[in-house]
């Protein structure tokens, strides 16, 4: 049996077994905007951004808890870059330039194709362009849901609607909301504020999850299993 056949069987099994279909949208009677709608707006704005800085912290290993926190770490990498248009510049060592399709890395003896250098391969395969991540997540926007924390593991809570009028109370609530990781947003032209979480979770179907996992394997960073 070829590797491809094994993967196809595994993918088919995942598709059959996957029952997770987090439905986007606010709870009944809520004024909270649908997570998918907000994601689309953020995605659209992000596409228009000409430049930004980005850093990535990569942690991998064995977890034993529902929040997937790493207890035995095998991978711990940090990278940073500056995005200008379709170009990402990594000023720190190793210095590199990348586009979504090609890359160049400075190895000490000169500039090389990024895939001709072991460090370059790792950088290129582990550090995705944020725009690529958003485009991939955007394919599954129908599964978008609000979550209360960055771990994405908490269940969605009902929207809390607050009436506008008492400025002092609103300020106090705003301050309290920030402590809890929530932001109070004024809806223009409406008579209520919607207490929105800061985080949107998008679960991918099993086929996409497997693709992500194979990409991690192909980066050569894995030494567990």
């Amino acid at each position: 049996m070829t590797r491809r056949t094994v993967l196809s069987i595994a993918t088919a099994a995942l598709l059959v077994s996957w029952g997770g279909a987090a439905v986007a949208g606010p709870p009944a009677g809520s004024k909270r905007p649908a997570a998918g709608k907000v994601f689309r707006q953020v995605w659209r704005n992000f596409k228009k951004a000409k430049s930004y800085e980005v850093s990535v912290k990569i942690e991998g290993g064995i977890s034993g808890t529902p929040d997937h926190a790493i207890k035995t770490r095998t991978v711990n990498e940090n990278y940073s870059g500056e995005v200008y248009g379709s170009l990402m510049h990594h000023p720190a060592m190793p210095r590199a330039f990348r586009t979504p399709k090609s890359g160049a890395i400075f190895t000490g003896t000169g500039w090389k194709n990024i895939l001709a250098d072991r460090q370059g391969v790792r950088l290129d395969r582990l550090f995705s362009f944020p725009q690529t991540l958003f485009d991939r997540a955007g394919r599954y926007v129908r599964f978008a849901e609000w979550v209360e924390s960055a771990s994405g593991s908490e269940e969605e809570k009902p929207a809390e609607i607050k009436l506008v009028g008492d400025e002092k109370e609103a300020d106090e609530e705003k301050a309290a909301g920030k402590e809890k990781g929530r932001t109070v947003v004024k809806s223009s032209g409406k008579k209520e504020d919607v207490d929105l979480p800061r985080f949107i979770r998008i679960e991918t179907p099993p086929k996409e999850a497997l693709k992500h996992f194979i990409e991690v394997e192909n980066s050569g960073c894995m030494s567990v299993g």
Binding site: A10, I62, H68, A137
Partner: protein, 79 residues
């Protein structure tokens, strides 16, 4: 590893004032045969392999165009 139990999800942190992302985290999970607890296709406990890619995005529109050395420019255009 048990690739029949593989999950991935994104968590996007939204700046509600600017309507731009402050970050995006990709979590990729796969089971380990006999160790992982799976419910409804989701890994919910037991030992499993986990990878977290936590991206932080900042300083929108504050990055200037970098100067690319000629040799690097040639490589970028080569594919």
């Amino acid at each position: 590893m048990d690739k029949t139990a593989t999950n991935a999800f994104y968590v996007i942190e939204v700046d509600h004032e600017t309507k731009l992302p402050k970050g995006i985290t990709l979590t990729v999970l796969t089971g380990r045969k006999g160790d992982t607890i799976v419910k409804g296709g989701r890994i919910v406990g037991g030992d499993h392999v986990a990878f977290h890619f936590e991206y932080t995005i900042s300083n929108y529109e504050k990055v200037e165009a970098p100067e690319i050395p000629a040799a690097a420019r040639k490589l970028l255009a080569s594919r």
